[in-house]
Symmetry: C3
Subunit: 348 residues, 3 copies
């Protein structure tokens, strides 16, 4: 029996400079917005109400940038990370054009780095992934690195160390949606009186609320993104894994934490860039997620402000005391996500 | 660290006559209709099929009035009931204009009553909440009272007892959607031959079917309504609560019971008013819900009939024998919902 | 108390030649497509992306034919199978016109066979069900037979044995959507390089991936189809049943298996006919589903190819060794679904 199934690429299958066209373009619609709200509890007004978005100069409510990120990311999984050992991180993520209901997303990745690990059994693949809409317009670009198994430990590989990703997207590289105008911004409808000027670098915000995650919820979300990573779906196979159970896709964690962050950052609505993200501990169904944020930088972009924010998600304990790292620089075991991004926020 | 998070209002924070503009307007779409069906199993034809609605004189299938109610209600939670001890009830609910996919809902409440409890630790807040569409048209208005904690038991409060809500919305105050015309109503497609004339005051109907509720389901629904009450989502915090687990939002119970009521009331499709509703026992994930109805009144509105219906939801036992109250007037422990509403129904 | 609830039809209630107009027409929308993806993980490009469908000559992404099947089937449940003992199978299923978002589906069945079982307590009802869109156009037709309880074992019945369904839909009876044109088909975006010519009759394909099913997931799906069969929803009543728990609706199994089949059959996207389907063992929440396919026939339809495929879903074990039947012709206990269908696939 020949097989036409895709077993996924192993480390030795990747070539430096290789371009990978990922499968299954997807038309995102109002239904994705509703499902995103149902799955995360997001309350950011710009993505919830056409009238609010129109009052901000946009044609209607765009698709939440994180949903765009997860959708594009999901497409890459069958080609990049089906045989991944660990999702090491991402960086240089920029949202370059807004995505509206009816737009169709597809994704292309380029292999920009290959580094075999000293054990000979795994290697780190670095890719730049570009997400496009149906007009071929680039809507999202980011760099990701992931540790992938070798099929054959003896297979030769040509290492091609990646260009080190920049630690932060420079503010001149931040792109605002065409038409965005916060001059008539309605702070009451948005849910917070706090404008750009009210946030101080170094300020930490406890987002208070907690959210317990169920298996059905993270599976629904991860399937919505057409992400096929087995660790999220196959409880039988996961019984043999290190954790003995299904893992929650890191993108679900990001979106849940970002939804919790509404309580304190309601006006920092519009994610412009992902400077970096690391999933530092696993999240499982039954865990309760809390979140806190720190203002890392504040840049005046002219008509709007931009906050650089660290979003930290913790599990099974409150975030009131901002758990993060110990003196040795090791993450607290409760921390599951360390996420660094830029968001636009109205000025007063 | 300053906090920009919203801890919710405590009893002493409310002022009589205070107007509260609630956050996060929401554009409801066809996706809400589909999710409402997926979450409740609703089969009322008017809200399921554009062609059926058009045959009833409407431009297309409206959004289910209960979904409008939950959406508007959800907006009020962060301001009104984040520190609630108990959701005591609502009344004088009227659906004043139909909501169609694409409409954007927002909500404003006025504090119309404040009464501190004798223990000094809590008080009852009464609000009138109005829901509007993007044109500022009033689509829903209702009164709600809720018991809220005081932050400081010693804080002075100015009581302002509420106007006692009317026990029932008078039929002249019922508003039919513009264009509604049941003259060509298709009883076969609607799923029942029973018209207005077939229902007798005092008649009780067992809705037969049962529905077991899962954590993921009620969380999805409650997040879809952007309702943030912690008791529904935070299993960790709820471990310390009276019940030791998450509570299901009462609106989920109403919608599930109303979906079950299709079996016996398929033509009493169009909810016009909520006379009153009380959640008399908690519902938890794993519980199985059944429902029965009683015809409390029947009024001929001219072109259509209106039934005043009591909808009773019970848990973990059949509703065949109409469990309700004992001789002392106490609810049977199986009863979770006592809901009183008006619905339009075609005449023969 | 009179009852207006529908207890469902019993075997003696059916008459040969009887036409049954089923309730609750439903407008299917983009939200159904999104929910179908979230519930099954389907990645077939034709149903995921308007741009891909337009590149195949269609006006936009149609509704997945299986979703059409489940929606039409769901409407028949309250009339046909509420008192079913067993869903024995279906055949002669043909998709006759594509369904697009905004179309409204309704269903009519005709009783074409009645055969009481020798025990006198049950009988087999055979119906032909036709699904229509809002223009009265036939979009789907299939034959189904189901074992139904008698209300009264002594009630007389007039047997009317059914015409034996054809074992396979003949290729001249396969209907392609108007406009379908695979001449510019994008194999990379579709996710597989394998065209019609690459598949050999007798070839078996292991679809590799597994999917664990949760109660909330199958309940959401089955309610989305407005299927009311109690065995899927009422855990309390099911405690008294043979299995002691809720059963997963067979249509959920079909859609999950078909979504898994993407991995190996990504281009056999367009289901044209259901030759037959049998649910040979029950599936429960917590079970993990795997799938394999066998190419039963390959027919050149001119501009496109058609593959006749057997889709076998197995539970709680891998499908790598193609579990099916033993030498006595009995299904392996792991097999839950034996499904036989035609799908269109592009030629090279």
């Amino acid at each position: 029996m020949t097989t036409k199934s895709n077993p996924g690429n192993f480390f030795e299958d990747f070539k430096h400079g290789q371009q990978i066209v990922h499968a299954t373009p997807r038309t995102v619609t109002e239904a994705d917005t509703a499902l995103n709200i149902a799955l995360t509890g997001s309350r950011y007004a710009l993505f919830s109400a056409d009238s609010f978005a129109q009052n901000c100069g946009l044609p209607g409510a765009p698709i939440d940038p994180l949903l765009v990120f997860h959708t594009v990311f999901g497409k890459t999984v069958p080609d990049i990370s089906l045989n991944a050992v660990a999702n090491l991180g991402y960086a240089e993520g920029r949202f370059l054009a807004p995505v509206y209901p009816g737009d169709t997303l597809n994704a292309i990745s380029e292999v920009i780095g290959l580094k075999q690990n000293s054990n000979g059994k795994t290697g780190v693949v670095t890719v730049r992934t570009d997400g496009f809409n149906q007009d071929g317009e680039l809507v999202l670009s980011y760099v990701r690195w992931v540790m992938v198994n070798k099929r054959d430990a003896n297979a030769p590989v040509a290492d091609a160390p990646p260009i080190t990703p920049k630690p932060v997207v420079a503010t001149p590289d931040l792109v605002l949606p065409p038409g965005l105008d916060f001059s008539g911004y309605d702070f009451a409808l948005a849910g917070s009186p706090h404008a750009f000027e009210d946030y101080a670098v170094g300020e930490k915000i406890d987002h208070v609320d907690g959210m317990t995650v169920e298996e059905a919820e993270h599976q629904l979300a991860t399937r919505l993104y057409q992400n096929t990573a087995k660790v999220h779906f196959d409880a039988l196979a996961q019984k043999e894994s290190r954790f003995g159970k299904r893992l929650i896709y890191g993108g679900v964690t990001i979106s849940l934490a970002r939804a919790l962050a509404f309580n304190g950052l309601a006006n920092a609505q519009l994610m412009l860039a992902i400077n970096g993200g690391r999933h530092v501990n696993p999240l499982f169904a039954g865990d309760t997620l809390y979140a806190w944020s720190e203002v890392l930088a504040a840049e005046d972009l002219g008509d709007v402000g931009a906050l650089r924010l660290r979003l930290v998600a913790v599990k099974n304990r409150s975030a009131t005391d901002f758990p993060f790292k110990n003196e040795a620089g090791e993450y607290d075991p409760s921390v599951v996500l360390d996420f660094d991004y830029w968001a636009a926020i109205p000025k007063r």
